[in-house]
């Protein structure tokens, strides 16, 4: 058990350590923050444009491989959810419980995945003292199972 945790944590450490070296990023942050703080009352477009790049860089720099996998899954869920919603608006909601079941399956799965992500991210270690990454994954599986049982029952 202990070895497993060590391995897991080792793995999560590697991508940020070797593949994307953290060294180039620190200089980026101060410079951009400087530019923002220099023009606090200026128009929004340059600020948002800059911040998007900044956020993206920061994201690439700090997120380990596994978390990115989760993020891709989250993106997929958002796309599926939006598709269903658009269909509901355009195509009508006739079997309403079918739509609801499908939609809440994506929403529920999304929320559970975000919870898993929060629990496993290193930055939140202090918040979740009682929840190890393995425990978080078990929680995730338990929650998802329940969710899909209800969905299957609801979809008719």
């Amino acid at each position: 058990m202990a070895r497993k945790t060590a391995a897991a944590s080792g793995k999560t450490a590697t991508p940020s350590g070797s593949a994307r070296s953290t060294t180039p990023t620190p200089p980026i942050i101060p410079t951009t923050t400087n530019t923002i703080s220099k023009k606090p009352s200026s128009t929004a477009p340059p600020l948002t444009g800059n911040t998007f790049v900044l956020v993206w860089n920061q994201y690439l720099a700090t997120t380990p491989q596994r978390i990115r996998l989760l993020d891709v899954f989250l993106g997929f869920l958002i796309v599926v959810g939006v598709l269903q919603f658009v269909y509901c608006v355009i195509g009508g909601n006739y079997p309403f419980n079918a739509f609801l079941a499908g939609f809440s399956a994506t929403v529920g799965q999304f929320v559970l995945t975000v919870a898993l992500r929060m629990q496993t991210v290193n930055a939140n270690r202090k918040e979740f003292e009682g929840v190890s990454p393995e425990r978080a994954f078990a929680d995730f599986v338990f929650g998802s199972l329940l969710l899909h049982v209800f969905c299957v029952n609801f979809i008719n």
Binding site: S37, T51, F96, A115, E127, R135, F142, F150
Partner: protein, 739 residues
């Protein structure tokens, strides 16, 4: 030595054994204090609603789950019928059905009635356990044990969970507490597992009681308050979102709830907080990536603007009708006068009346004044979970003031915070450690406290900690606790243990006399009327007639169709000529009225009559007028001074028909209203008296068939009595007879 016992690690097993023993004893106390009614009377289902639950449970056990689910009941609400399977909360019936089958599987054949009667006491033991866990999360074990003991015997909870009161609340309070406990646990640990468990029990709660809306609003409110206090954390997100996503989906599985969670205003706060948490979490995440101040203010504005936009959209959707507005029952919680004006049917229910102040003391005794102290102590520490109890205390106090019935939801909260206050007092005063033994830290803390308080004598801080003062406080407090136990037992035995189907009175020699008129009458109906006879009565007795007499009824306690109830009210309130067509149209064979005049039983139909008139007036304002039932001086009279409308009404006639013959002429007295009734009693043309119970509480009349010769009943009756046809045919005939 005591300290060693309380804190030493080696004593842990002993302590947990002790705790388990105490909890089991509390559960036994909870169960046994609810058995008064079974011991005094018998194992019988109480009151009104439980009779329906009992009937439904019998149906479930007999026909199986699926036919229960699709149950269309044509024996109620004649001629409409009721889609019973889709309009009830099945949790209670399924629970007792399960217990029945498990016991049967274990080759313990127990009558389903006994399971139903004893379900509420059994679950009250579990409630004590759930309250223990809940309070343990708030403070510690000792507070938990005290809270468990309080909830086990608090009259506010006993009132709805004595043996035989087989109602939804019987299991709902347990579910309420366990859901709240799991929520707090989920919030503390930040685990989706506890959140999912919380959702599961929430699902059970939704299946069991309409009061689940309380949870649906309490948890979001707690989360919202935490966010507003700047206490958003990933733990909150995990707990809330896993609960909401699973719980909402689960609650929609109950047919009676259906799409309400996304369609009605009561559930919108939960959805709103869910959305808010998504935004806040996302922003929080972005903030962790970009630690810039301007950016943060920008994000904050985004959050607030989105929130406002969402609220505006919600209002728009409500106005445009996509989301159902607040239901009438809910409105009456905010505006206490609302129900009286717009929905008399809700206002007429006695348990929907505002609470009288003495009721708080009656139901909670010394917890009433410990309650604010406990809340104050929670304020001092104010951890996340303490906020929950504080919010609960505010909401619970308000709602319990609006409706007597909601005292029930306040009681657990009062018990928890009362226990926190009590255990703080006991912890400080019962332990007889002298200040010397205390560690320097503790001593410092102890010395600090008295200086703040008013009790300090200068330079003599030890005074408060002397064995003497400790003794005084702990003895007084023990006395309070003992008084509480006595009070609870007294209230339970005197106020809450009457089945109300069977009445008890004392004979002059002190022995008990059982008045069993209801069952006598219902049994008469069961044995002497055709199987498909339709019985009309006021809605209060619908469930009992269905359960005990097994006959079809026009209206019952489900009260889903106001017009149908108003029809019955109109028939009762109008004169015979108007009433007869109504009775014929609804295939009424028998009419049942409750009359307490002979015995002095105040809950009879004449006393409820004004509500019938009001409800009927709400639908037919031209035909039924409340004013006509009051005398010119505005009095509600049944004696000689009663108005003509009153004297002509079917209800009045049925109640007092032949009553004067019981007494020497001119001496007839109505013991409820304390007045002399007219020496000449009313006559009935369209009805025949069919049955009157021993103490005249239940009177049953048979509706006459159409006359063979096509005359109206008044003239036919007059003819039978030998009057000349000519005179009887004139409309004044029966009237002149009466005078």
């Amino acid at each position: 030595m005591l300290k060693a016992f309380l804190q030493d690690d080696s004593m842990r097993t002993v302590r947990s054994l002790l705790k388990a023993t105490i909890l089991i004893t509390i559960a036994i106390a909870a169960v046994s204090s609810r058995l008064f009614s079974v011991i005094r009377f018998e194992s019988i289902i109480h009151e009104f609603d439980p009779w329906f639950n009992f009937r439904a449970t019998k149906y479930l056990v007999k026909n199986g789950f699926y036919s229960f689910w699709d149950w269309f009941d044509d024996r109620t609400w004649h001629p409409l019928g009721r889609v019973t399977g889709g309009t009830l909360y099945p949790g209670l019936m399924v629970t007792s059905g399960l217990i029945y089958h498990v016991l049967k599987f274990l080759t313990l054949p127990v009558d389903i009635r006994n399971i139903c009667v004893l379900l509420a006491p059994a679950f009250s033991g579990l409630t004590a356990l759930a309250t223990y866990f809940f309070t343990k999360e708030m403070k510690n074990d000792s507070a938990g044990l005290l809270a468990a003991a309080f909830i086990a015997i608090a009259p506010g909870y006993i009132s709805r969970s004595v043996a035989g009161s087989y109602d939804n609340e019987a299991i709902a309070i347990f579910l309420l507490m366990i859901t709240f406990f799991l929520w707090i646990k989920a919030l503390k640990v930040g685990s989706a597992y506890w959140g999912a468990l919380c959702a599961l029990f929430y699902f059970y709660m939704v299946a069991a009681w309409g009061g689940y809306v309380f949870i649906t609003n309490m948890i979001p409110l707690h989360a919202f308050v935490l966010v507003c206090m700047g206490r958003f954390s990933p733990r909150l997100y995990t707990a809330y979102c896993s609960w909401y996503a699973l719980g909402t989906l689960a609650s929609m599985q109950i047919p009676f709830v259906g799409f309400l969670p996304i369609r009605s205003s009561e559930h919108m706060s939960a959805l709103g907080v869910f959305g808010l948490l998504q935004i806040v979490a996302f922003v929080d995440y972005l903030r962790s990536l970009v630690p810039s101040k301007q950016f943060q203010t920008l994000l904050k504005t985004v959050v607030i603007v989105t929130f406002l936009l969402a609220s505006a959209a919600l209002v728009l959707l409500t106005v445009s009708g996509v989301i159902a507005p607040w239901s009438g029952r809910f409105y009456s919680l905010w505006d206490t006068g609302y129900a009286k004006i717009h929905i008399p049917i809700i206002a007429s229910v006695s348990e929907h009346q505002p609470t009288a102040w003495p009721a708080f003391f009656f139901d909670l005794q010394f917890l009433v004044w410990l309650f604010p102290a406990g809340v104050y102590m929670l304020f001092r520490e104010l951890r996340d979970e303490h906020v929950f109890v504080i919010v609960y205390a505010v909401m619970g106090s308000y709602f319990s003031g609006v409706m007597v019935r909601l005292m029930l939801t306040l009681t657990p909260c009062v018990c928890v915070s009362g226990a926190i206050a009590a255990s703080t007092i006991l912890e400080n005063y019962v332990v007889l450690g002298s200040p010397k033994e205390a560690t320097p830290e503790e001593k410092e803390a102890e010395e600090k406290k008295p200086r703040k308080g008013a009790l300090t004598a200068e330079g003599e801080p030890k005074g408060v900690y002397s064995p003497m003062s400790k003794l005084i406080v702990s003895v007084t407090f023990t006395l309070y606790l003992l008084l509480f136990v006595t009070h609870c037992t007294w209230v339970t035995s005197n106020a809450y243990s009457s089945p109300s189907v069977v009445l008890a009175s004392r004979l002059p020699d002190g022995s008990q006399h059982i008045i069993d008129d209801y069952r006598e009458a219902y049994y008469w109906l069961r044995k002497n009327t055709p199987e498909d006879a339709k019985i009309m009565s006021w809605w209060d007795y619908g469930y009992q007639i269905g359960g005990m007499a097994d006959r079809a009824t026009l209206v019952d306690n489900n009260t889903w169709n106001n017009t149908h109830i108003a029809t019955v009210g109109k028939a009762m309130a109008s004169n015979e000529m108007t009433a007869y067509p109504i009775l014929r149209q609804h295939d009424v064979d028998y009419i049942l009225v409750i009359f307490g005049g002979l015995l002095g039983y105040s809950g009879d139909d004449i006393n409820k009559f004004l509500w019938m008139v009001r409800i009927a007036e709400g639908v037919w304002p031209d035909e039924v007028k409340e004013r006509n039932f009051f005398t010119a001086r505005g009095e509600y009279k049944v004696d000689e001074g009663a108005t003509q409308t009153m004297k002509d009404s079917l209800m009045y006639k049925m109640s007092y028909y032949n009553y004067h013959k019981l007494f020497p002429s001119g001496q007839a007295v109505d013991r409820v209203r304390g007045v002399k009734v007219p020496a000449v009693g009313p006559t009935l043309d369209i009805l025949d008296e069919a049955f009157t119970s021993e103490n005249w509480i239940v009177r049953i009349y048979k509706v006459k068939d159409l006359d063979n010769l096509g005359r109206d009943h008044a003239s036919a009756n007059a003819f039978e009595e030998g009057k000349k046809k000519k005179r009887a045919a004139s409309k004044k005939g029966p009237v002149s007879m009466r005078v």
